[in-house]
């Protein structure tokens, strides 16, 4: 394989990986805020893409995307408020089952609102034939959009968490909920905010990747599983590590076509997830853990 072609596969792997990372970050944000895994995370990407696709017929593309992102964010909020907020101290089993059920409802609703066919958003710049010459390889500009948008989202999130009061409040809640509440931080609002952020980010990711990978009503579940892989690989709750994890997964998946039949590409991410959970459950970049680990252990001291 020539250097240029290798670079093409590599970059494409990085791009898909960064989308997985966005899903993983969404998992982490909600996990940090609520201690639960939101199985419906992947559906937000699907919704963002689908809505933008419908809106693009009568709105200019940037507006369609903005509207889709906002709408999906609000839907995430609605989901949290209507279904999840009034459950106090539910057991883990219940939370899993509810979010799985919600992801199915969202997916079926999408099937009925749209259809089962594959759709695609218009290319943000140019079309499917345009390409840029980068380091000897010919790349679709959309690929670069994916990298840019993902990078901007991650950067924006990092700045948010580090420099804004709300962001710091969210970190405080994740670190020690009781202490945070005692300081007057209104946890419930932050939970709602975390759902908005996770949903909106997912929607934006769904919009930017749609021209390349297309959008279909049932794409959510496999994205959720791969996003979870990134979250766990980086260490659940560790937002920054999810990015690195995502890139790793994406590149490995992309590289796998050299050895595996195309049909098994999805299996790569799944195998990584199982391997990590069983071998090094705290993630590759094991930092300070939060809440409970995969084997049920609480983190820190006696």
């Amino acid at each position: 394989m020539g250097g240029a072609q290798f670079f093409q596969y590599f970059l494409s792997g990085v791009a898909t990986g960064s989308i997985y990372a966005i899903v993983g970050i969404g998992f982490n944000i909600i996990y940090n805020a609520t201690g639960m895994i939101n199985f419906a995370q992947g559906e937000f990407l699907m919704l963002g893409g689908m809505m933008a696709i419908s809106l693009q017929t009568f709105l200019p593309l940037p507006l369609a995307i903005t509207a889709a992102v906002a709408a999906t964010g609000l839907l995430g909020v609605a989901m949290q408020i209507v279904f999840l907020s009034w459950l106090r101290k539910p057991d883990v089993l219940r939370m899993i089952i509810i979010t799985i059920g919600l992801s199915i409802l969202i997916r079926e609703a999408a099937l009925h609102v749209w259809d089962e066919k594959v759709h695609a958003l218009a290319f943000w710049t140019g079309d499917e034939t345009s390409s840029l010459a980068v380091l000897g390889a010919r790349l679709s500009p959309q690929l670069l959009w994916v990298l840019v948008i993902s990078g901007l989202m991650v950067a924006g999130l990092t700045l948010f968490f580090r420099f804004t009061l709300t962001g710091k409040a969210m970190r405080a809640c994740a670190s020690n909920g009781t202490a945070a509440r005692l300081c007057g931080i209104k946890a419930p609002r932050l939970v709602t905010l975390s759902f908005f952020i996770a949903a909106a980010m997912g929607a934006l990711a769904g919009c930017v990747v749609s021209p390349i990978t297309q959008t279909q009503y049932d794409m959510g579940m496999s994205l959720a599983v791969k996003g979870f892989t990134c979250a766990v690989l980086g260490g659940l709750g560790n937002v920054g590590a999810a990015v690195a994890a995502g890139i790793l997964v994406g590149v490995l998946e992309s590289a796998s076509i050299a050895v595996l039949p195309l049909a098994y590409k999805d299996v790569v991410a799944l195998t990584i997830m199982l391997a990590i959970l069983l071998v090094r459950p705290q993630g590759l970049f094991a930092g300070i853990g939060r809440k409970s680990g995969p084997l049920g252990q609480a983190h820190g001291g006696a």
């Binding site: 895994i37 101290k89 899993i96 089952i97 199915i104 979870f228 959970l277």
Partner: protein
């Protein structure tokens, strides 16, 4: 005298089954029997999951994977000219072996992680099935011959043996239910419930938690694999849809709606909903119905529909309402 009180519900069920067959045949609508037979086989899957999830507390989103392993093994063996009787035992054996090997590492996980891992397992099974030519890829395997039993009797969906297969399926379900009921009422059943309740305390009481989890995991998989193998012969084929996440979700929904640790509840809900689904009562919203059930049950009736009838809707705080003065 009291010993027989336990057997009574099972006898009533047997009576109900006979009654259903007689009346349906008399009304000349015995094509309902086919769907009731299929519903019976599918309910075996739910019963197995009930033992795993409801009693031992281990969430599994991969039950359909085991159903498919049993079914596809039986299909491959019976369509490639090997011995005609080997298919079902082989299906059970392979399912048991896979579940044993998968269970050893995976059951060390808990909660979300276990759910995701079993989900991943189901996905992987599904991908392998669709990917390999021997499994018929997207078309599945068809022309699976009937499974011969004794005296000309066979597991098949063909009309002449409709009534026999109805009784066969329900007979198996009743036996399966009886074994499961015996299990949960015994020392092993208490151990499983203890594991669900508090693993550390269960271990402190001398229970080898890892071994019990693995055993019930394999048992639950065997229930599913056996059902898969039998249904494959009944339907004369199997397709990749059987391994899908949606089928696993269905099983979870049925167990949850039935009341988690409630074998009778699971059976009832499973038969009713599966029958309705097979008859097309939910139309295009089939999957949505089961997804909706999951959400509704967990929000309004976390102890299952039958507890709803007994105790009413629990308070939104998620704690079951304490009955006044103890139960």
């Amino acid at each position: 005298m009291r010993a027989y009180a336990r057997e009574l519900p099972l006898l009533l069920l047997a009576g109900l089954v006979v009654g259903a067959q007689v009346s349906l045949s008399a009304l000349k609508v015995d094509f309902y029997l086919t769907q009731l037979t299929m519903a019976a086989w599918y309910s075996l899957v739910a019963l197995g999951l009930c033992l795993l999830m409801g009693y031992a507390g281990q969430v599994s989103m991969g039950q359909a994977g085991f159903f498919a392993i049993g079914g596809y093994t039986a299909a491959v063996i019976s369509t490639t000219g090997m011995s005609s009787w080997l298919s079902i035992p082989a299906g059970v054996f392979v399912t048991a072996a896979v579940s044993f090997l998968v269970g050893i590492p995976v059951l060390r996980l808990k909660g979300h992680y276990l759910a995701m891992a079993t989900l991943a397992f189901g996905f992987i099974v599904s991908r392998i099935i669709v990917g390999m030519a021997i499994f018929g890829q997207a078309d599945g395997i068809s022309d699976v011959p009937p499974y011969p039993l004794i005296a000309g009797l066979a597991i098949t969906g063909k009309r002449p043996q409709r009534v026999e297969n109805f009784y066969l399926a329900w007979g198996v379900v009743i036996v399966g239910l009886m074994l499961a009921l015996n299990l949960v009422r015994s020392r092993t059943g208490r151990a499983l419930r203890a594991i669900r309740g508090n693993e550390e305390a269960a271990a402190a009481a001398g229970i080898d938690v890892g071994r019990y989890k693995l055993a019930v995991f394999v048992l639950s998989a065997v229930y599913a694999g056996f059902a898969g193998a039998c249904l494959t012969h009944f339907n004369a084929g199997i397709g990749p849809g059987e391994a899908g996440i949606m089928k696993s979700v269905r099983s979870v929904a049925l167990v949850a709606a039935g009341g988690m640790a409630n074998l009778w509840g699971t059976l009832t809900v499973s038969v009713v909903l599966t029958f309705l689904s097979l008859r097309g009562a939910f139309g295009l919203f089939d999957d949505a119905v089961f997804g909706g059930i999951l959400v509704a049950i967990m929000l309004f009736a976390p102890d299952g529909v039958f507890s709803l009838l007994r105790h009413g809707i629990p308070s939104p705080r998620g704690f079951p309402r304490r009955a006044k003065g103890g139960r």
